[in-house]
């Protein structure tokens, strides 16, 4: 992405792209992140700019530490993560709130409001209160751009990391963004000066840092009270004034164009005096925020009788429709008739594993091991929890499969009838926060079989590179590619219990799985097929079904491959009187990668590679 010197100009940008351009224009030098929807494109975009050193860190805590280290050395730095990523980084974040920063440090945190791609919905603005950080809340891509440009100087002014809080509706909504004139001198040259009282947060230093934090809070509040990001937009209908932050401001403009609006872009520390002035100018106040009633609670504590969460949904996105309904409730107006017709009953279309994905082989067998307790993890393999496999018992948080499995195994230690315990985790998630869990299993000799699904990519978020495939963010060779066999051995798994297998080879994989489930100690099965979107993946010619051989047994459908399609169904009454459902299939030529998992599942050999045309190569005449 290039930005031409002719300005001002407009570009059609997502909030993530706009934020990245703003940060680049502010002279950011270091950008570190772990991919996570909806934040991923921030650092992906930053990586395209010369002069920005961008990296995929192994997890969000490390990413924050990288950014803080660069900031301490006098380089402007940014880290980006999804809401749950900030939980992982929380320990470092609490300390960073005490040390403060060298050069400007921005933490862009993207809340998945509406949980379209997450295990949870969280309001990251709480961290602003918890760590005493200023919180900026852009309403759209334009504000994300402008706030990113200014957040670094705000950070330097108060010696504090700035929380730039995004939500899905800012990250992934594209709008026309007007680019501003270049900043006069973006990044100041700062040098590192040794300062143990600041950078070593031992008890003897903490007192002074807490004092500094309190002073900072007062100064930040004074700035928030007069910030240009906190604006009162007057409106003629003074019966109800709205206080809103983030993209909700647009929903308010849409639903209540006549209502006075206080939009909070610099929302923490909360400018109470400003809010009070606004409240005095209207008959009643409705606070609209995503997703927790934070501003509402603080305004109430300050003695303002405001409406809020009680007239809105307790979770999820706030749309213009929600705003209109909430306002009608407060004003005691009646509901207009609904315009929308009834939703039609259409089958669900859940996300599926891709045709050719090695995980299909893994879950084919796990679905045939119903006695096992399977602790799953976060990645494409989470899909093993859905039909047709229904193989996964738990999915909680990044890397949580191994710890949970340890507890499950412990609970069964003294049982007479034990059930096998399996943990399923991908390469990137294992390197993110799974390694410690494995060490805990080996340290306690927990009888858990770990399926380490190495597909050589952080696949779910868009096939980003990681230490397991040996490529860096830019796609260049990294100095290291993790050797999982050596790694898990170093973490205490006996070499006899470390097995590398190909999940395409159904019989071999089953044999290995059975052996390891029998072993009475921790074991790791590493699967070796790359993600279909990696350059390592080899596509073979598609398979075909021999109609004459097929008996309609439907075993191939248990693989769950989206390329296997039913052509007709029949019911058959057996001699015993039981009725069986039969189905005949074909294979979608466009989707099929020729992996052959379905062919190996077929006991009749009815699925095979299309015979290749015999080509006789002749010498040139």
């Amino acid at each position: 992405m290039t930005v031409s010197p002719a300005r001002p100009q407009s570009r059609f940008l997502s909030g993530n792209e706009a934020l990245a351009i703003g940060a680049m224009e502010a002279g950011v030098s270091v950008a570190a992140a772990y991919p996570g929807t909806p934040s991923t494109e921030i650092v992906e975009t930053l990586a395209t700019f010369p002069g920005v050193q961008a990296e995929w860190s192994v997890n969000e805590k490390v990413a924050l530490e990288v950014a803080l280290g660069a900031s301490m050395m006098g380089r402007r730095a940014i880290t980006a993560m999804k809401h749950v990523g900030l939980n992982v980084a929380a320990d470092t974040l609490m300390s960073a709130g005490l040390t403060g920063v060298g050069a400007g440090l921005v933490i862009a945190v993207a809340d998945d409001v509406g949980f379209s791609s997450s295990q949870n919905e969280q309001d990251s603005r709480y961290w602003g209160r918890f760590v005493h950080l200023p919180v900026l809340e852009p309403a759209d891509a334009q504000e994300a751009y402008l706030m990113a440009r200014e957040a670094f100087t705000l950070s330097e002014r108060h010696q504090v990391p700035v929380l730039l809080r995004m939500t899905t509706r800012v990250c992934h909504v594209k709008r026309a963004v007007r680019l501003e004139a270049e900043l006069p001198s973006p990044a100041p040259r700062m040098e590192y000066v040794k300062d143990p009282e600041r950078w070593i947060v031992t008890p003897n230093h903490v007192g002074k840092r807490l004092e500094a934090r309190a002073r900072r809070a007062t100064a930040m509040l004074a700035e928030a009270e007069i910030s240009k990001w906190n604006v009162i937009k007057p409106g003629p209908d003074r019966r109800l004034g709205i206080i809103a932050s983030g993209p909700v401001c647009h929903a308010v403009r849409e639903a209540l164009p006549q209502a006075p609006l206080l939009s909070l872009g610099f929302s923490a520390p909360l400018p109470i005096a400003l809010a009070r002035r606004f409240a005095d100018s209207v008959d009643a106040v409705l606070v609209i925020e995503e997703t927790e009633p934070l501003v509402e609670t603080e305004l109430r504590a300050a003695g303002l009788a405001v409406h809020g969460r009680s007239v809105l949904s307790p979770f999820g996105e706030v749309t213009a429709e929600h705003v209109a309904r909430a306002a009608r409730t407060v004003l005691g107006e009646s509901e207009p008739p609904t315009v929308a017709g009834a939703a039609q009953q259409v089958f669900t279309r859940p996300p599926t594993l891709c045709a050719g994905c090695g995980y299909l082989g893994v879950y084919y067998w796990l679905s045939r091991t119903p006695n096992a307790i399977v602790c799953g993890d976060i990645g494409c393999y989470t899909l093993g929890a859905s039909p047709p496999w229904n193989s996964v018992d738990t999915v909680l948080a990044m890397g949580a499969s191994l710890g949970m499995a340890g507890g499950v195994a412990k609970a069964m230690e003294n049982e007479t009838k034990k059930r096998p315990v399996i943990a399923v985790i991908g390469d990137s998630t294992f390197l993110h926060t799974g390694m410690q869990g494995l060490l805990n299993l080996t340290y306690h000799g927990a009888n858990v079989t770990v399926l380490l699904l190495d597909n050589r990519a952080t696949a779910m978020t868009g096939c980003q590179n990681n230490p397991a495939n040996g490529r860096d963010l830019a796609g260049n060779a990294a100095p290291v590619r993790v050797d999982f066999v050596k790694l898990v051995e170093a973490l205490g798994v006996r070499p006899e219990r470390i097995r590398s297998t190909d999940p395409y080879e159904l019989p071999t994989f089953l044999k290995v799985l059975r052996e390891e489930l029998k072993a009475n100690e921790p074991s790791v099965i590493i699967t070796t097929r790359p993600c279909v979107f990696t350059p390592e993946f080899n596509r073979e010619s598609p398979l075909v079904v021999d109609e004459a051989m097929c008996n309609g047994c439907t075993t191939c459908l248990d693989v769950g491959c989206p390329a296997v399609l039913v052509t007709r169904r029949e019911q058959q009454v057996r001699a015993s009187g039981t009725t069986v459902d039969l189905a005949w299939v074909k294979i979608d030529e466009q989707l099929c990668t020729g992996c052959g998992i379905c062919a190996k599942a077929c006991s009749r050999g009815a699925i095979a590679q299309k015979p290749r045309k015999r080509v006789i190569e002749l010498e040139p005449a």
């Binding site: 017709g341 996300p351 039913v566």
Partner: protein, 215 residues
């Protein structure tokens, strides 16, 4: 007044690209525009939708059910899934392609026999376009989305020529591909002008694009 467009389909079909194209044409013609995206899990064969709002000034990016002016559906069952988002005066342009998911293949769910017919019965203005057949007749299945954009061209507050120009800039490439895309766009446009593809077996006759100097 703003125009609300909902583009729907299945992961990997090009819903986002089609939506982006519409928004860009609107911006280039002096209107405001915004477009939503969904990323992450939904891309793995799941339901994908993008909301495009265009008009003099667009505030909220989201559209409410019952307020869609144009539903551009790249897949038939997805049209039925989203049809209640249509405004009473709204119109649906539907690719008759049937993308059957594993949940239907495995017999756990049923794919509606005639999604567009069901929509019409419910009183929605739905126009079926067999974009796949048209695209194949023009020599490339990948032209289907160009056919669909052409089919939508006369139901938008945008200049069809400007939309075509953007399509060609996006998908055009070499001269041969440009001509194929232009033909696909016009074929799609002609389909809606004729009232859409009629149900039942039929032959779609198309002029092959004249490819000057190319085999």
């Amino acid at each position: 007044m703003n125009t609300n467009i909902l583009v729907v389909g299945v992961g990997g079909q090009g819903v986002m690209t089609a939506a982006e194209l519409l928004a860009r044409v609107a911006l280039a013609s002096g209107l405001d525009a915004c477009k939503t995206e969904i990323a992450g899990m939904s891309q793995r064969g799941g339901v994908v939708s993008s909301q495009v709002r265009i008009g003099p000034h667009v505030h909220a990016s989201e559209i409410a059910p019952g307020h869609v002016d144009l539903l551009l559906a790249l897949e038939a069952a997805e049209a039925l899934r989203w049809c209640h988002w249509l405004a009473p005066t709204g119109r649906a342009i539907v690719n008759t392609l049937r993308a059957v998911p594993p949940v239907v293949s495995s017999g756990k769910a049923h794919y509606p026999d005639d999604p567009v017919g069901e929509m019409s019965k419910l009183g929605y203005d739905a126009c079926a376009v067999d974009a796949g057949t048209i695209a194949l007749a023009l020599g490339d299945a990948r032209l289907a989305n160009t056919v669909m954009l052409g089919a939508a061209a006369d139901s938008l507050p945008l200049d069809p020529d400007a939309l075509l120009a953007e399509v060609l800039q996006r998908f055009g490439g070499k001269e041969e591909l440009r001509q194929r895309n232009a033909a696909a766009f016009e074929a799609g446009r002609a389909q809606t002008q004729m009232g859409g593809t009629q149900p039942g077996p039929q032959v779609i006759r198309l002029e092959k694009p004249q490819l000057a100097g190319l085999p």
